[in-house]
Amino acid sequence: MESLTEDTQRSAEAYAERAGSRKAFFTDTSICIGCKACEVACKEWNRNPQDGDLEVLGSSYDNTGALGANTWRHVAFVEQDQDRIEKARESGRKLVSLGMPRVGPPAQAGAAAGAQDGTAPPDTAEFRWLMSSDVCKHCTHAGCLDVCPTGALFRTEYGTVKVQEDICNGCGTCVGGCPFGVIERRDEGIIRAKTERAQSKYAQEIPNEGTANKCTFCYDRLVDGQTPACAQTCPTTSIKFGDREDMVESARQRVAELHQQGMTEARLYGANPNDGVGGTGSIFLLLDEPEVYGLPPDPRVPTKDLPRMYQRAVLAAGGMLAAVGVSFVLGGRR
């Protein structure tokens, strides 16, 4: 047994004629305008409750904070000075020269270092404001799915990962299984409003309370051939949706294009099949290190270590059995 993580190939085949090609998001943060339409369209379609304390969070224009049980698309706002921008450009340049697979085909990456068509690398701005819409990664090797004891989480025919709220018992095992901190158990009770008077009027019942919740990739739209709500609404097409192969391809093209313009800070996240989760179903074009956007730099599916642990456990168990056997033998002699 090579891995205890799910065999996505076989999962796909299990759907037989229903099986579709694997779907993915490509979120191009270089054209994100931070409008948060994705957050709202997601909430509206999925009837997710309003989040938070209705107070300024202290994080630029971000007031929802992070992905969670009720917020399945989250837009981060990052304000950076010139120093930070230069570092981002330099770190991206290093990725290019290392020929890292996450930054596109080497041929194009090589061209990025120098300017083409007389295009000089842009002057480093004194300031920039990064915006990026985060979402569940729908990993190739999905930790949440691997650890779910009830079969509530499953791999859909689109290669996405979804919770079946009618099966989930709210055990929360998946929460620890996600290397991105995406999936979360939805609190019971009603959503708090800022003041008492608002509580009465705007109080909102929580659907699926007590179960694990995260982006469904709008499974209920996919089955009807529709685009997920966030991608459908995105004004600038920063969120693109399609077959994963096509998304990876356009992501690589876009990053090469930006490199040609001298924007070596551009890099891909989630497109590398050799990363700790086997690549993701949500690919991002970032303009700085992943940590800057609140993304783990090197996510690893926890179950990836299971085979090794399993072997050790088997060894240990064998040892134990042997010891027990020995003791029996020895004891029998007594």
Binding site: S30, I31, K36, Q50, L54, V56, N63, F127, W129
Partner: protein
């Protein structure tokens, strides 16, 4: 644009990916700046210096589009010998009257080709007869005739081109740096970008929103951009123009079919007592039959409107019931009405989907005004602050008002929303789009159509049988619209009336297909001439929904654009004087020699068979007087106006003045602020002393107000929605790190912002998105304030209203308030509660020595002593 019109911005994003350069000029760094090629921060209110310097750059570097400018603008037209420029008069134009702050505009006139006399307004015998701007409608000012003197060499020192050169000569990159806080490097980048991207092969577009309009000279901001775009040949061409990004679903429609005091539908003016006592004097004032263009047919448009309203009661004998129209006596805008409220001169007020308690400038004055009403009707979706100020408004908290003392009766009537009624919205590009009804309104909710139709019916019932002539206009009104089972009038029937129809003749009852079919003899009726054609062939053209992907980029079969389904105005200018496209790349509308017609990708905005070389008979007037190369068909001489001889009351050319409240002295002229601005002095509308006067230092900083993507204006449609409220839950201010350090503001803590009107509190966002600037050698700090929050108990989120800080000073052309640049003081921490708040505001007023006159002095240069040497160094 990304901030406030995100979906429109998709086209900018796409253009940028195809190589377009996006430059964002704004005091604050917004979501637009984040994705622009460059953000250029400027001091709020200094735009004319920047735009004027670009004009100067284009002229001095000979970068103007010569063929376009010579043929299509009034560059060659000779101006009156009497005209004197602000360069001659230290900031004033000739003709200023210091008594009432108005200009006699006769010295700004064109010279007549036939002699030395000038070309005035038709019917204006004396200067007292000259019209106020609100009397023009938006049809533009008329000329008595179009036979003007020109110097085609552009060398005559009195020709517009030379006047323009002299006027903007001191608007240099250095002046920009000193006044706007923009570096010479940034200015050069901007100037190079737009000039390199203009000409035959390329066009540059300007987009703006209320950041340009909401100033005491907002109309002139846009005029400056118009001059620049004319010089670069960017008007009437694809990818060019000046695009007004209007803020509301049908704010364009609200101007076209206006609920505005000075306009009738189709930009016909409301009649003014004394000047328009008869139909004839009214019609003469709109357009002379001898001037060029389509305003010469205003008689047909007006009489068709009167026929639409009063039907058979409008006859040739009674001048088509012209006397049924009420008359203006000066301005009756929303702020003048507010002053009347405070004087107890107004009994009743209808608020229809509008929240002035939060959304109008000087919110405290608005709420106090409403407390003087006898009755108030609020029609809205939720209990907005304008409906509840009597129980939970800020003045109840300070004790200035006591609920049990307020006599005002308040009616809250729930309104139907956009899914609960059918009707049309006109979006920002004049595209009229029909909405279909999805559901019926809940409970008591009604559409405005239903409510006002019903109200009208009941008024008429009550007056039935009245012999009082004052009641005739109501009783004779055509008001019998078909209704459905719920009593809702058929909106298409109303649309058909707006479109117009034949009253008599062989086609009686049939809809008109174009406004050219309108007649001045009473044989046609039509409620808004520019919308004629929207119901052509008895088809609701605004409901057309041929998918965009099945059409070319003009998408002419999606909805309907006024006028005549034309998508790009003045598109005759997209071809050269001979009628050929300026370039293959930019071809749009051109002359087809074979067909002897104008053709192209859009409905030509020109008489369709007027050949490029056509020259009118000398005595012709109206559309017949347009030469084949007069693309600006609504202008009285067919030309784009670099210099506006009529139509603006504060100058034929834009000139930089400081905002009424500015800590900076005008670096260009002795005249500090627009001398023709409308002032509304009063104890509830105190202003800070402008620069260099004692007390100015009490309010040393500049604040500006703006919107956020997550909210909608005064919040009536966003703060009551949990999904939007959570995204921007609290009122905040944005300040630079330098300023925060200087006065001790803590990140995400609180600040109190104090103006002469009020004090508010806001969470503090310390960010490099706001820049402190060096202006005329001193550091100037700007405070950014979104204005979506208000004090009340009904919304999901509440907060102090930025508009409470603003004073009222109006643009004299359009009576819009300046709300983009004013003075304030800032202190760390939250504001005091209760009466202490009033005391804080009062303390600062006393320190600054404010009186009702402060900041309201119009003239700041010595009168009658024109100075030889203008201020400022050159």
């Amino acid at each position: 644009m990304a901030e406030c019109h995100p979906v429109g911005f998709q086209w900018v994003t796409e253009a940028k990916q195809r190589g377009a350069r996006i430059i964002h000029v704004d005091p604050r760094f917004t979501r637009t700046s984040a994705v622009a090629d460059r953000h250029i921060a400027l001091r709020a209110g200094s735009d004319i210096v920047l735009l004027g310097a670009l004009i100067n750059y284009v002229l001095t570097h000979d970068l103007w589009f010569e063929e376009y400018v010579r043929a299509y603008t009034n560059a060659a037209t000779i101006i009156s010998e009497e005209y004197q420029d602000p360069e001659d008069l230290n900031g004033l134009f000739s003709g200023y009257n210091p008594e009432d702050g108005t200009y006699d505009k006769s010295t700004w006139s064109y010279q007549s080709a036939t002699g030395r006399e000038t070309v005035g307004e038709p019917g204006a015998e004396t200067e007292d007869d000259a019209a106020e701007p609100h009397e023009f409608g938006a049809g533009g000012p008329p000329l008595s005739h179009a036979n003007v003197r020109r110097d085609e060499t552009l060398q005559d020192p009195r020709c517009v081109f030379q006047v323009l050169k002299r006027h903007f000569a001191r608007y240099t990159p250095e002046m920009v740096e000193q006044t706007c806080g923009i570096s010479v490097d940034d200015f050069t980048y901007l100037a190079n970008s737009i000039t390199e991207n203009s000409g035959r092969e390329r066009t540059t577009a300007f987009t703006y929103a209320v950041g340009w309009t909401q100033h005491a000279q907002g109309a002139q901001f846009i005029r400056t951009a118009a001059i620049l775009q004319l010089l670069l040949g960017n008007m009437g061409r694809p990818g060019g123009g000046i695009i007004a990004l209007r803020g509301h679903a049908t704010i364009q429609g609200c101007t076209d079919i206006p609920t505005l005091f000075n306009l009738l539908p189709g930009y016909l003016p409301m009649p003014e007592a004394g000047q328009h006592n008869t139909l004839q004097t009214y019609l003469d004032s709109i357009g002379s039959k001898k001037q060029k263009g389509f305003w010469a047919n205003a008689d047909a448009y007006t009489i068709s409107l009167l026929k639409a309203w009063w039907g058979d009661a409008a006859t040739q004998e009674n001048d088509f019931a012209y006397d049924y129209l009420p008359r203006l006596t000066g301005a009756h805008g929303t702020y003048q009405t507010l002053e009347r409220m405070l004087r107890d001169e107004l009994d009743g007020y209808f608020l229809i989907g509008q929240n002035p308690a939060v959304g109008s400038a000087n919110g405290r004055m608005q709420r106090l005004g409403m407390s003087h009403l006898k009755w108030l009707v609020v029609r809205d979706f939720s209990l907005i602050e304008s409906a509840t100020w009597w129980k939970d408004g800020p003045e109840i908290h300070t004790g200035e008002l006591r609920t049990e003392d307020i006599e005002t009766e308040v009616f809250f009537l729930p309104a139907a929303n956009h899914t609960e009624k059918a009707g049309s919205f006109t979006q920002t590009q004049r595209l009229v789009q029909w909405r279909h009804q999805a559901v019926t309104p809940p409970d008591d909710a009604q559409s405005e159509l239903h409510f006002f139709h019903e109200l009208g019916k009941r008024l008429r019932q009550r007056l039935a049988g009245s012999q009082d002539s004052r009641d005739r206009p109501l009783l004779d009104l055509t008001w019998d619209y078909p209704t459905d089972a719920h009593g809702e009038p058929d909106p298409e029937a109303v649309l058909a009336e707006i479109n117009g129809f034949h009253v008599s003749g062989p086609d009686q009852g049939e809809p008109l297909s174009t406004f050219n079919e309108m007649r001045a003899d009473g044989s046609t009726a039509g409620g808004c001439w520019i919308y004629t054609g929207i119901y052509a062939d008895r088809v609701n053209q605004s409901a057309r929904r041929k998918p965009g992907q099945e059409q070319d980029e003009t998408a002419a079969e999606w909805a309907w654009a006024w006028p005549a389904n034309r998508r790009l105005l003045y598109n005759r200018a997209s071809a050269d004087p001979q009628g050929r496209p300026w370039s293959e790349r930019k071809k749009y509308v051109w002359w087809d020699d074979e067909q002897q017609r104008w053709t192209g990708k859009d409905v030509p905005d020109f008489p369709v068979d007027r050949a490029p070389d056509a020259r009118p008979e000398p005595d012709a007037g109206g559309p017949a007087a347009l030469a084949g190369d007069d693309p600006f068909i609504m202008q009285a001489d067919g030309k784009g106006w670099l210099f506006a001889p009529h139509g603006l009351v504060d100058g034929p050319l834009p000139t930089h003045y400081e905002p009424p409240e500015s800590p900076i002295g005008n670096p260009l002229y002795g005249q500090q602020s627009n001398p023709a601005r409308i002032v509304l002095p009063g104890k509830d509308n105190l202003l800070a002393p402008s620069a260099l006067q004692p007390g100015s230092e009490i309010y040393p900083h500049i604040f500006t107000t703006y919107r956020l993507t997550e909210h909608h204006t005064a919040g009536g449609m966003s703060r009551f929605l949990p999904y939007l409220a959570e995204l921007q839950p609290e009122m905040f201010c944005e300040v630079s790190p330098e300023f925060a350090a200087e006065i001790g503001l803590e990140a995400y803590g609180w600040a109190t912002i104090i103006s002469p009107r009020s004090a508010i509190e806001a969470r503090v966002f310390i960010t490099e998105r706001v820049t402190s600037l060096t202006i005329a050698g001193r550091r100037v700090h700007q405070v950014g304030l979104p204005y979506h929050w208000g004090v009340g108990n009904e919304a999901v989120v509440e907060g102090d209203a930025a508009n409470d800080l603003l004073g009222l000073t109006l643009d004299p052309n359009v009576h819009i308030q300046g709300s983009k640049a004013a003075q304030c003081a800032v202190r760390p921490g939250r504001r005091p509660r209760g009466p202490e708040l009033t005391k804080l505001v009062e303390d600062l007023r006393q320190q600054a020595g404010l009186t009702v006159e402060t900041g309201n002095e119009r003239l700041t240069v010595p009168w009658g002593e024109p100075q030889d040497q203008p201020r400022g160094e050159q």
